[in-house]
C-alpha cells in the first residue's frame, strides 16, 4: 500500500496574479508532514510562508503542482470540508480570526458550520477549551482577552474541528513574550498528544524543538533538515535575512575562541550541560 503523508506538497507553484504567470509567490515547493510530526518553516517577510499556509487546506489551490491532505487533492472541491476539518490554520492577527463576542460561542463556530448536533458541539467546545487552558474563560468576552489568550481561543476554535494537523502562521508575531510562551507551549503540548504541527515563524528560538526545519526564501525551499543541521549553516541563514538562536551564536563564538565544544548545543540546557562537561575535564 502507498504510504500516505498527512500533508504532501508536490512541486507547488502559486501566483496571486493570473495575468503574469512568472510572478510566483511560491515556486516549486515540495515537502511532507507526517502524523505527529512537528515541522517549522522559517523565512523572512515576503518569502511566501503565508501563501504556503493557505495552500495547505485548500484556501488557495496551486497554480501548478499538487497538494494532498491525507491523500485528498486540495484542488478537488468536493474534498474541501474534509480537508479543512483535517488541517486547521491559525493566523497571525488574533483579532481577525475571532468571529463571536463570547469565547465559547467563537469556539463553537466551526462545529456549527459542520451541522453537528448541539450536544456534540458542547462536548467538543469544552474539550477544546480545556486543551488550551481557556475553559475558565468560556463565558468571557473575546475582545477583553490578552493577545496570547485570544490566540489560544483561535487554536481552540481549530481543535473543536478535531483536526489532525494545525498550521500556525506566525501565531506569535503580534504577541508579547508571555503570550508567545503561552502559544508555543500550547502547540508543543498538542504535538506531544499526537497532533501534527506546522509552525511558521521567524523567531529562531521557536524552531529548536522541531522534528524538521524548512527554510524558505523568495518563494523557494532553500534548505530542509533537523534544527541542528539547519542552524549549523549560519551563513546561509544570515544570507536570507534570518538569524540563529542566541545559544547557537554563543556556542559558535566560544568554538571560534578555542573552547572545545562538541556538536551544536541548541537550547540553554544543552549548552549548560556541554559547558559543565568541559569544566569537569
Amino acid at each position: 500500500m502507498e504510504n500516505k503523508h498527512l500533508l504532501d506538497f508536490q512541486n507547488v507553484f502559486y501566483t496571486y496574479d493570473e495575468e503574469d504567470k512568472d510572478s510566483f509567490a511560491v515556486k516549486d515547493i515540495s515537502f511532507t508532514v507526517d502524523k505527529g510530526e512537528y515541522v517549522v518553516i522559517l523565512g523572512h517577510n515576503g518569502s511566501g510562508k503565508s501563501t504556503i499556509a493557505k495552500l495547505s487546506n485548500s484556501i488557495f489551490v496551486p497554480s501548478e503542482g499538487k497538494v494532498f491532505v491525507d491523500g485528498m487533492d486540495t484542488a478537488d472541491e468536493k474534498n474541501e470540508f474534509k480537508i479543512r476539518e483535517k488541517v486547521g490554520v491559525v493566523f497571525q492577527n488574533p483579532d481577525n480570526q475571532i468571529v463571536a463576542s463570547i469565547v465559547e460561542e467563537d469556539v463553537a463556530f466551526g462545529p456549527e458550520n459542520l451541522g453537528i448536533p448541539p450536544k456534540t458541539i458542547r462536548e467538543r467546545v469544552d474539550n477544546a477549551l480545556k486543551a488550551v487552558g481557556m475553559y475558565d474563560y468560556r463565558l468571557h468576552e473575546t475582545h477583553r482577552l490578552s493577545g496570547g489568550q485570544k490566540q489560544r481561543v483561535a487554536i481552540a476554535g481549530m481543535i473543536a474541528m478535531l483536526p489532525e494537523c494545525i498550521v500556525f502562521d506566525e501565531p506569535t508575531a503580534m504577541l508579547d513574550p508571555r503570550g508567545r510562551r503561552e502559544v508555543i507551549n500550547t502547540a508543543r503540548k498538542l504535538n506531544s498528544e499526537g497532533m501534527s504541527i506546522v509552525l511558521i515563524t521567524h523567531f529562531m528560538e521557536e524552531a529548536v524543538f522541531a522534528d524538521k526545519v524548512i527554510v524558505v526564501d523568495g518563494g523557494r525551499i532553500l534548505a530542509e533538515g533537523t534544527p541542528r543541521e539547519i542552524f549549523s549553516k549560519t551563513e546561509m541563514l544570515i544570507s536570507c535575512g534570518l538569524d540563529v538562536p542566541d545559544t547557537v551564536k554563543l556556542s559558535l563564538l566560544l568554538k571560534e575562541k578555542g573552547v572545545p565544544i562538541e556538536g551544536l548545543p541548541l537550547t540553554e540546557e544543552e549548552l549548560t550541560e556541554e559547558y559543565l562537561r568541559i569544566l569537569n575535564l
Binding site: R84, D95, I98, I102, A108, F109, E112, I121
Partner: protein, 281 residues
C-alpha cells in the same frame, strides 16, 4: 473615554433573565416599549417602571452598571423635561418668571415633564437589560429565527444574522482602534479638539482613512479564518445553544400580558377619578 460605553455590552450570568429564551426577551422588550407609549397615567407608568426595576433586580446586574448606562442619556432627559415645561400651558399656573414673554410654568407642564422623563428612563432601563443579559450571538440568532418567515420573500436571513454577529463582535475592536489612531495622529501634532465644527470634521479625516483601510484588511483576513472553519455562506448550520421556550418564558409572557392589560385598561377605559389614574398625556 470612548471605551466607557456600556450600552450594548453583555454581562454573562445565570439569572432568571439571562436564562430566558432570547426570542422571548426580544418580543417582551418590544411589547414593553409599546406599553410604555400606550400608557397615559401615572398609575400604569409607575407599574411599568417598577416592573423594569424588578426585572433588573432579577437579572442580578449591578446597579452601578445600570446607572452608568443611564448617565449617557442625562442630557436627553433634561432637555426633554425642559421642553415639556416650556411648551405645556395646561393646568394651573405655578410661576411666571418672564411674564413679558408669556412664559409660565404650569402643573400640566410639570406633570408631563415628569411623565416623559420617567418614561424615557424606563425605556432605557428595560431595553438595555436585553443587551446586558443576552450575548450578541444569541441576539443575532434570535433575530434570525424571528425574521425567518421573511425567507419566503427570498431574504437571506442567515447571512443577515452572520453580519450582525460580526458587526457586534467588531464594534469594541474598532473603537479600540479609533482610540489608537487618534492618539497616533495627536502624537504627530494633529489637533482634533479645537477649531470650528468644519475644522474638527476635517481633522477627523486622517483618523477615518486608516480605520477604513484597516477594516478592509480585517475583513480580508477574517474571511480566510472563517473559510478555514468551514463557513461557506450557505451551510446548514446547527447551534450549540438550542433555543427552546420553557416554563420561565411562559411565566414572563404571563406577567407581560397582565401588565399590558392593566396599562390598556387604565389608559383607555378607566372610570376612576383618583389623581394617579388621570390621563396626563
Amino acid at each position: 473615554m470612548i471605551k466607557d460605553i456600556t450600552l450594548g455590552q453583555f454581562f454573562p450570568g445565570s439569572s432568571f433573565i439571562h436564562k430566558l429564551d432570547p426570542r422571548a426577551k426580544i418580543v417582551i422588550t418590544l411589547c414593553f416599549i409599546v406599553a410604555l407609549f400606550l400608557c397615559k397615567n401615572f398609575f400604569s407608568l409607575g407599574l411599568l417602571f417598577v416592573s423594569a426595576l424588578v426585572a433588573i433586580a432579577l437579572s442580578k446586574i449591578s446597579f452601578k452598571v445600570i446607572l452608568k448606562g443611564l448617565k449617557m442619556i442625562v442630557i436627553l432627559v433634561v432637555f426633554t423635561g425642559i421642553l415639556q415645561i416650556v411648551y405645556n400651558d395646561e393646568g394651573t399656573v405655578l410661576w411666571k418668571p418672564f411674564e413679558q414673554f408669556g412664559f409660565q410654568i404650569t402643573t400640566g407642564g410639570v406633570f408631563s415633564a415628569v411623565f416623559i422623563i420617567v418614561r424615557i428612563i424606563a425605556l432605557i432601563l428595560f431595553s438595555s437589560l436585553l443587551t446586558y443579559t443576552t450575548s450578541p450571538t444569541a441576539l443575532a440568532d434570535a433575530i434570525e429565527r424571528l425574521l425567518s418567515p421573511l425567507k419566503i420573500f427570498k431574504v437571506n436571513v442567515n447571512s443577515l444574522s452572520m453580519m450582525m454577529t460580526i458587526a457586534l463582535r467588531f464594534i469594541p475592536t474598532l473603537i479600540e482602534e479609533i482610540d489608537i489612531i487618534m492618539s497616533a495622529q495627536k502624537a504627530r501634532g494633529a489637533d482634533l479638539e479645537t477649531g470650528t465644527l468644519t475644522q474638527r470634521a476635517k481633522a477627523l479625516v486622517p483618523v477615518f482613512i486608516p480605520l477604513i483601510v484597516s477594516s478592509f484588511r480585517r475583513a480580508y483576513e477574517l474571511a480566510f479564518a472563517m473559510e478555514c472553519r468551514c463557513y461557506t455562506g450557505d451551510n446548514k448550520r446547527t447551534r450549540m445553544k438550542e433555543m427552546k421556550l420553557g416554563i420561565r418564558d411562559y411565566i414572563a409572557f404571563g406577567v407581560l400580558l397582565l401588565l399590558v392589560a392593566v396599562v390598556v385598561y387604565t389608559s383607555f377605559f378607566n372610570t376612576f377619578s383618583f389623581f394617579i389614574f388621570q390621563q396626563v398625556i
